[in-house]
């Protein structure tokens, strides 16, 4: 079983959301159990007029399921070597940027700099260059970081299940992998060369991670590549499919919007703040227990305001450059919009009545 046939169908069948009426939206907001067609209604242009009631429901659901808490994490870029040609990314192989990969000593120094801010959840990132940053290298990084971070997730190239299992044994408990776009034709255009061209292999990655024992599997689409409504619909159905098939795994989504970066590619569509709020609240109403991450790609004031509408995780104190925590930043993967420190994010959360959660998991294997 795979989500592939469904994804291909979703990616190629327009949703025709212009036929949705205001009444359809009103009904969808109040349904006790929101199905796929009600979810689509919440993503329709007609829903724009009902954004306030969507926000109210999303807030109530978030409050009752997650309380006034937001988990904080930060990404650690250990390598920016990449064999792919993704047209929207600053790390793409054709871009002439300085390439580097941290030595284990540098990884430790980065880890210590991050741990000093109080963060206990880490997201380890690489580009896609398995020959440089292979599984053994990642395993070694995890071993170095494990004493500092009770929870480590990876956002690396798609692997086979056995490799993920190796990482989970080393202490990795979360996997992030974005499909970028669910539209297979656009996907082929945006990934002209490199291993990432394989749409199906990438699409089945979250599933392989779940089978390998990851506790958290985070998916998403890069918003801006094509019609966001269509993409969020696919992300939501993919998340629901994963939740159903892997009930023991915490399924999370991220809603990254495209940011300016070193390449020349510019977004095909601009997702407005209002539209991002619609996307997030629709997802929350559709899947009340879904973890939702909002990254530092977003501006501070927007992050602060969208907080009560469904957010459960935030990145903080971010540098997207390799080795950017211990030393001053070099060229990052993309520009961040929220440069606030961990302490500043914590203070912001506190002032809004929210609590920053630094630690929310610890591998039992390692400690008992």
């Amino acid at each position: 079983m795979s989500f592939l046939p469904e994804a291909l169908r979703l990616g190629q069948t327009p949703l025709h959301l212009e036929t949705v009426s205001g009444d359809d939206v009103r009904r969808a907001v109040d349904l006790p159990r929101v199905d796929a067609s009600a979810f689509a209604a919440l993503l329709s242009p007609a829903a724009d007029e009902h954004l306030e009631s969507m926000a109210a429901r999303a807030h109530a659901l978030t409050l009752s399921h997650f309380g006034r808490t937001v988990s904080l994490f930060t990404p650690l870029y250990v390598s920016n070597h990449c064999a792919n040609h993704c047209r929207y990314c600053g790390f793409a192989a054709p871009n002439s940027i300085p390439r580097s990969q941290l030595s284990l000593d540098e990884v430790r120094a980065e880890g210590e700099a991050i741990a000093a801010t109080g963060l206990r959840h880490l997201l380890l990132l690489t580009g896609e260059a398995p020959r440089k940053a292979g599984v053994a290298y990642l395993e070694a990084c995890v071993q170095v970081l494990r004493p500092l971070f009770p929870s480590i997730s990876v956002e690396v190239y798609p692997m086979e299940t056995a490799d993920y299992a190796r990482l989970t044994r080393a202490g990795v408990d979360g996997l992030t992998v974005f499909q970028e776009t669910y539209d297979p034709v656009l996907y082929a255009e945006l990934h002209p060369a490199g291993p990432k061209r394989d749409y199906a292999f990438r699409l089945n990655t979250p599933q392989r991670g779940a089978e390998a024992g990851m506790r958290v599997v985070n998916i998403g689409a890069l918003l801006g590549l094509t019609d966001w409504r269509q993409e969020i619909y696919a992300v939501g159905l993919h998340a629901a499919w994963l939740q159903k098939r892997y009930p023991g795994v915490d399924i999370a989504v991220s809603l990254p919007r495209m940011r300016p970066h070193a390449g020349a590619f510019q977004p095909a569509c601009i997702v407005s703040d209002r539209e991002l709020v619609q996307a997030m609240t629709a997802l929350r109403i559709f899947l009340p227990r879904l973890s939702i991450t909002i990254s530092t790609r977003e501006a501070p004031s927007f992050r602060d305001n969208i907080l009560p509408l469904g957010v459960t995780r935030m990145s903080a104190g971010v540098s997207t450059a390799v080795g950017g925590h211990a030393k001053p930043a070099k060229t990052g993967q993309f520009e961040i919009s929220d440069p606030r420190s961990v302490a500043e994010i914590e203070a912001m959360l506190r002032s809004r009545g929210y609590q920053a959660v630094f630690k929310d998991w610890e591998p039992i294997e390692a400690s008992a």
């Binding site: 997650f66 227990r289 609590q355 920053a356 039992i364």
Partner: protein
Amino acid sequence: MEHTDIFEIGGKRLSSRLFTGTGKYGNDELIAPVCEASGSEVITVALRRVDLDGKTDNVMKHIPTHMTLLPNTSGARNADEAVRIARLARAMGCGDWIKIEVISDNRYLLPDGYETAKATETLAREGFVVLPYMNPDLYVARSLADAGAAAIMPLGAPIGTNRGLRTEEMIRILIEEMELPIIVDAGIGAPSQACRAMEMGAAACLVNTAIATAADPVLMGRAFGRAVTAGREAWLAGPGAVATLAQASSPLTGFLDRTEGAS
């Protein structure tokens, strides 16, 4: 009123039958005033959230020292993981009480009865005071009792839903059939619902979300404390039997007495 109604469990005597939690607060500094306002003496804490050597704020330091800690195994997906978390809690100095939560369904967070019973058996043998969180099912309750549970914690509704006593009939059966204390856990969203559970004869209620996410958690804590006391007193007072039909002042069978009297 004097506290003559003491709840004894795991060798501890409690004068409050409201258990509270530490999750979901916007600010952990509210925990101490909520404990005080509610009168609660038992508080559950997710071990996964405790970072004893972290430089950041640690939830444990906000828990008043007179409280009995009820660490929970939140995050455990099977018996084996729950057992390891429990042992870790004890090693960390959290005491012998443990609330078993074995959940491998992240959509509804429903507890796995079979794995819960397995974990209960192992931990009870190791001397823990085991309080398992469960679906209100009589057979699971019996296996938990056989496994050595100190009390049983059935859910009123799925965690975090504030939907109230959706499982009322099943909980009533547990109260009637089981000798162990029944502590209603999860789903209670309003003081009236906690009061209702106590009126039915529950031994205690655990309330977290409804207090932690209230606009004024301290006031809500106090309301729950009072509701639980009111419900308990109603139960102790022995409510009059509920009649299904109105009792006519001239009963239809009244003639029988008269006939007998006349003979």
